[in-house]
C-alpha cells in the first residue's frame, strides 16, 4: 500500500512482514549453506531470526 508522504503516514509504505512469504529465500540460502538436511525445529528458529532482521530493517527505513 502506498500513501503519499503529504498525508503524514509515509511509514505505511514499508513492506509488510508476512510469515510464509517474507525471508524464504534467506532460509533457502541457509539450507544450501548447511549442505545437509536440517531439523525443522532448528529451521523455525532461524526463520524467526530472519523475520526479526527484516522487521528491524523495515522499521529503520
Amino acid at each position: 500500500m502506498h500513501i503519499s508522504d503529504t498525508e503524514g503516514i509515509a511509514h505505511m509504505d514499508g513492506k509488510p512482514i508476512l510469515f510464509g512469504e517474507t525471508g524464504l529465500e534467506a532460509l533457502l540460502d541457509l539450507l544450501r549453506e548447511a549442505g545437509t538436511p536440517q531439523d525443522i525445529a532448528w529451521l523455525a528458529e532461524q526463520y524467526i531470526e530472519i523475520l526479526r532482521k527484516e522487521a528491524q530493517t523495515e522499521e529503520q527505513e
Binding site: 500500500m1 503524514g8 503516514i9 511509514h11 505505511m12 514499508g14 512482514i17 508476512l18 510469515f19 510464509g20 524464504l24 533457502l28 539450507l31 544450501r32 549442505g35 545437509t36 538436511p37 536440517q38 531439523d39 525443522i40 525445529a41 529451521l43 523455525a44 528458529e45 526463520y47 524467526i48 531470526e49 523475520l51 526479526r52 522487521a55 528491524q56 523495515e58 522499521e59
Partner: protein, 608 residues
C-alpha cells in the same frame, strides 16, 4: 365575529360572557378557525378585575357565573389549582371529526360484505412466507482496519498522540509536529501465523519458541511443503534445499518396489533399501543425505509405515496383502472404533496420559471381540506409549510386538491411526491371542514401551492350564454363527469377562450380525435386552431388565465398546432407563414390531 353567537344568562352575565369570548377570540386571532382557544380562569379574572376596577374575588364570582351560564360556548377543564376555559373563534370549540369510514384500512377491517367464516381461508393464510435468507458477507478485520490486523488491542498499530511524538525540527527550525493530528505507526515487529497466533518479534527467539514453537513449526512445515516454487524438500522433521536432493529414476523405484514386495515380503527400512537395492555403502560420506533423498522420493509413490527414527516402507499391494483379512474390512472395523473419537474413550479414567507416559506401560483386559479378531483399540492410554504418525497422511505404522515370556516369539502388528472421524485400532494380534492357546477373553495383557520406537513388549499373568467351553465364531458354513467349543488357556482372567457357555450362552438367541451391522449400538442393545433380559412387560408392551455388566459382556462380544460408550447409549436411548442405580439395573421397552425382533425370531426358527 361574535354576532351570530347567542349568550345566555342575566344581562350582566351575557355582557360579561361576550367580553370574555371577545378577549379569547382576539387571543386566537391567528389560529385556524376550528382550533381551540385556551385561557386560564385566573388570568381572565386578573384581566377583568383590573379593567373593571373591582376586587379579584368579586370579578372571579362574576366571570365564573358568566362562563357557567354558557356551557355550550365555554368548556372548562380543571387543571391543578386553576380552571382552563376553552372556546373557539366562531363560538364553542368543536373537535373536528375526520370521516375515515371509507379509508382503505377501515374497509379491510370492516368490509361492506364480509365473507363467511368458512371461506376465511380464501383471504387469510396461516402459512408464514419463507423469507429469503441473505448469506452474511464476511469482511476480514484486516481490511476493515485499513490493511492492519486488529488482533489484540494495541498489539499491532498504535495511535500516537502528537504530544508523545519526538521533537524533530525541520529545515526552517519550526517543529513539524505542532498542530498536527495524531498519526498511525505501523508496528513491524509483529507477525501473524496462519493459525491466527500473533508473535512479537521484539521478544527473544527462545521465548517465542517456548511460547508458540509447535504452531511456528507446523506453519513453517505447511509453508515449505506448499512452496509454489518447490524449493524445499520436506520429509518427517527434516528439510533440505530441493536442488541439493538427488533424484531417483523410475527404474530405481521399480527395483525398490520389487525388492519390498517379492524379495522381502514385508516393510523394509530405508537403510536396507539404500544398501541392498541402490548399492550405496553405509560408510559413504553422504549416506545420511542419500537416506533423506530416498525417503523424500519414496513418499511420493510408496507407503510410509515407519515411526520416528525407523523409516519403514511398504507398497500398497503389500499392505493390502498384510491386512487382508477375510473376516473384516478396514472401513467396517474403523466404524466400530469411532466412539473413541466421540469423547467416549474411558481408557485414561484411572491413570492419566502423563502417568502412563512416565510409567511407559498400559494394561488392558481383552474382550471377546478383541480376542477373536486380534485387535485392540487405539485409545488414549495405548496412544500414550505407541509411536505417533510422523509424516502427513500416514495412516499406518508397523511395529513389532515381542513377548518376553515366550523366548524368541514376536510378531508384527499394524497401528491404524484415527483418520477423518473413524477410530484407530491395532490389528495383527490374532496369531498370539488365539493360536498360542495362552490367552482368553478376560485376560489382562500389559503393553510396554521399549527403547526402540518400533518395538513394544507384551506380557500377561501366567496361570495353570485350564479348559473351558468358550464362545467362538463358527465360519464353517455359509452363514457365520456363534457357537461354543472347548478351549485351552493358561493365564489369569477376569471371570466376569470370560465368555463361557454359562455366562453368554443366550447369545445364540440373537441373530449373528455381520461387522457392518454392529455399528448401530442402540439396535444392538435392544437385541441384548431381548435375549438376556428379564421380562417385565406384557405381550403388547414388552420390556426387559438387565444389569449393566451383563450388557457390557455381551456388547463387548459383538464389537469394541467402552463402558462410557455403553452408558451413553443407554442414557440417550429413548426406550432405556436406569431402574436401580446401586445394582446398575437398566430396563428397555421394545417395540413389538421392530425389525430386530422379527429378525431374531426368524433366526431362532432357522437355528432350530
Amino acid at each position: 365575529m361574535t354576532d351570530q353567537i347567542t349568550f345566555k344568562g342575566t344581562p350582566a352575565e351575557r355582557a360579561l360572557a361576550e367580553q370574555i369570548h371577545e378577549v379569547l377570540r382576539l387571543q386566537g386571532m391567528f389560529y385556524p378557525v376550528d382550533a381551540p382557544v385556551r385561557q386560564l380562569l385566573g388570568n381572565l379574572v386578573g384581566y377583568f378585575a383590573q379593567r373593571r376596577g373591582e376586587s379579584p374575588e368579586k370579578t372571579r364570582s362574576d366571570v365564573a357565573a358568566a362562563i357557567n351560564a354558557n356551557p355550550e360556548i365555554f368548556t372548562q377543564e380543571v387543571q391543578d389549582e386553576d380552571v382552563m376555559i376553552i372556546t373557539g373563534r366562531r363560538g364553542a370549540y368543536v373537535q373536528p371529526k375526520v370521516d375515515r369510514s371509507h379509508s382503505l384500512v377501515t374497509r379491510f377491517y370492516e368490509p361492506v360484505n364480509p365473507l363467511p367464516v368458512d371461506d376465511i381461508s380464501v383471504v387469510i393464510t396461516t402459512t408464514r412466507p419463507v423469507l429469503p435468507k441473505i448469506d452474511p458477507v464476511f469482511v476480514s478485520d484486516y481490511w476493515l482496519n485499513g490493511g492492519v490486523s486488529s488482533e489484540g488491542e494495541g498489539d499491532f498499530d498504535t495511535i500516537i498522540p502528537a504530544d508523545d511524538l519526538p521533537y524533530v525540527p525541520n529545515a526552517d527550525g519550526d517543529s513539524p509536529l505542532i498542530g498536527q493530528t495524531p498519526r498511525r505507526r505501523s508496528n513491524q515487529m509483529r507477525i501473524n501465523l496462519p493459525q491466527g497466533i500473533s508473535i512479537d518479534l521484539a521478544q527473544s527467539t527462545d521465548h517465542i519458541m517456548a511460547l508458540s514453537g509447535d504452531a511456528i513449526v507446523s506453519a513453517l512445515r505447511t509453508t515449505l511443503e506448499k512452496d509454489p516454487y518447490e524449493r524445499f524438500a520436506v520429509f518427517a522433521n527434516m528439510v533440505a534445499a530441493k536442488q541439493d536432493v538427488r533424484s531417483f529414476g523410475k527404474n530405481e523405484i521399480r527395483s525398490i518396489t520389487d525388492y519390498i514386495e517379492n524379495e522381502v515380503g514385508a516393510p523394509v527400512e530405508d537403510k536396507d533399501i539404500l544398501v541392498h537395492v541402490m548399492r550405496v555403502s553405509a560408510r559413504s560420506v553422504d549416506f545420511e543425505q542419500q537416506l533423506f533423498a530416498l525417503n523424500y522420493r519414496l513418499h511420493k509413490d510408496l507407503e510410509f509405515v515407519g515411526v520416528s527414527g525407523v523409516s519403514l516402507w511398504a507398497t500398497r499391494k503389500l499392505l493390502d496383502k498384510m491386512s487382508a483379512n477375510r473376516r473384516f474390512k478396514a472401513s467396517d472395523m474403523g466404524a466400530l472404533f469411532s466412539y473413541l473419537e466421540e469423547g467416549l474413550d474411558d481408557s485414561v479414567a484411572v491413570d492419566s496420559v502423563e502417568q502412563i507416559q512416565s510409567r511407559g506401560s498400559v494394561s488392558h483386559t481383552l474382550s471377546f471381540f478383541e480376542w477373536d479378531y486380534g485387535v485392540l483399540p487405539f485409545n488414549r492410554a495405548l496412544a500414550a506409549i505407541l509411536p505417533a504418525p510422523i509424516v502427513s497422511r500416514q495412516n499406518t505404522a508397523v511395529i513389532r510386538v515381542e513377548v518376553p515370556q515366550i523366548p524368541g516369539f514376536h510378531f508384527d502388528i499394524s497401528v491404524r491411526f484415527p483418520m477423518s472421524g473413524r477410530g484407530g485400532w491395532l490389528q495383527g494380534f490374532d496369531s498370539f491371542f488365539q493360536d498360542q492357546e495362552i490367552l482368553a477373553p478376560g485376560a489382562t495383557i500389559t503393553l510396554k514401551r521399549t527403547n526402540m520406537a518400533n518395538v513394544i513388549h507384551l506380557s500377561y499373568n501366567e496361570a495353570e492350564q485350564r479348559i473351558e467351553s468358550l464362545l467362538y465364531v463358527d465360519d464353517s458354513k455359509k452363514k457365520s454363527k456363534f457357537a461354543f467349543r472347548e478351549y485351552s488357556f493358561a493365564c489369569d482372567v477376569e471371570e466376569e469377562l470370560l465368555t463361557t457357555q454359562a455366562a453368554i450362552g443366550r447369545i445364540r438367541r440373537i441373530k449373528f450380525l455381520e461387522l457392518a451391522e454392529r455399528r448401530n449400538m442402540g439396535s444392538l442393545v435392544e437385541r441384548i435386552f431381548e435375549a438376556f433380559g428379564e421380562e417385565v412387560g406384557t405381550r403388547q408392551a414388552p420390556a426387559y431388565q438387565l444389569g449393566f455388566e451383563q450388557l457390557y459382556l455381551v456388547a463387548s462380544a459383538y464389537r469394541s465398546v467402552s463402558r462410557d460408550f455403553l452408558r451413553d447409549t443407554l442414557t440417550t436411548h429413548p426406550n432405556c432407563q436406569l431402574v436401580n442405580h446401586t445394582a446398575g439395573l437398566w430396563s428397555c421397552r421394545i417395540d413389538p414390531n421392530t425389525e430386530a425382533r422379527r429378525d431374531d425370531a426368524q433366526f431362532d426358527d432357522e437355528d432350530e
